[in-house]
């Protein structure tokens, strides 16, 4: 598998989220994703970008185009926020420390092919999702 292209987009403000969604849409369309798959990965990106701002205090989204047996799109959301003390709990539907529905992290996981989250309390959080065509 090789990485064809990488770009990093700031995720600090609400307009950044809108721009990030648009880029994910464009790139997943270029990769030939079906409309449903495009919608799933854009929606997952929207949830994670919002988390990056609300819980992480802002960060970045790295967008990678993957070329292998199948084409894919890998998105990495990274922040230097307070981190997640209990990832299992954070992934559970309905759990939130904010004012949302608690569907963001677990919901995003269901919408993609691969999902990983690493977090260190006091240092930040990194969420990586991959959607294969």
């Amino acid at each position: 598998m090789s990485v064809l292209a990488v770009e990093t987009i700031p995720v600090k403000t609400e307009p950044d989220v809108v721009f990030a969604r648009r880029r994910v849409r464009e790139v997943s369309a270029q990769l030939g994703f079906s409309l449903v798959d495009q919608t799933k990965v854009v929606t997952a990106a929207s949830e994670l970008a919002r988390n990056t701002i609300i819980y992480g205090g802002g960060g970045t989204m790295q967008l990678e185009t993957l070329n292998g047996p199948r084409n894919g799109l890998r998105l990495t959301f990274e922040d230097n926020g307070p981190g997640i003390p209990d990832i299992e709990l954070a992934l559970r539907d309905g759990f939130t420390t904010g004012s949302g529905l608690g569907l963001g992290l677990g919901g995003a996981k269901r919408l993609v092919s691969e999902f990983s989250v690493t977090s260190q309390v006091g240092a930040g959080t990194k969420v990586t999702i991959t959607r294969w065509k």
């Binding site: 609400e14 989220v17 799933k40 949302g100």
Partner: protein, 121 residues
């Protein structure tokens, strides 16, 4: 700041969301709509989301909130025109929009509002 226009047609309010909404715009719509329902004594709200390419948990929550608030203000809300890909994604995300009435298109939505308001003449 940009705004989503709300049109009044008879006893109903019509909203067509045509922009890629950021969260603050969604919150503003919620506030504007509740104020308009109260000011105009509208009995129904029709929200056309056929241009929306995604509905994430935030927008889903906004739609559910609008439906709940308008119900308390004696108005029905119908969300129309959801794209099939959006519907599939929304359910997989874990949102089924409880309490939100939906219709396939504007015509069907207007019919639903009219029939549920029929007794008012």
């Amino acid at each position: 700041m940009e705004k989503i226009p709300i049109l009044k047609m008879g006893q109903f309010l019509l909203v067509t969301i045509q922009v890629d909404m950021h969260d603050r715009l969604a919150m503003a719509l919620q506030d504007d709509l509740t104020r308009m329902i109260s000011d105009t004594e509208a009995h129904g709200v029709l929200i056309d989301i056929s241009s929306l390419e995604i509905v994430d948990s935030f927008i889903g929550r906004m739609l559910a909130n609008i439906a709940a608030m308008s119900r308390v203000l004696d108005a029905q809300t119908v969300v129309v025109g959801m794209q099939p890909a959006v519907a599939i994604t929304l359910v997989e995300l874990g949102l089924s929009l409880p309490g939100v009435r939906t219709a396939l298109n504007v015509d069907a939505g207007m019919e639903l509002l009219r029939s549920s308001n029929g007794f008012r003449g």
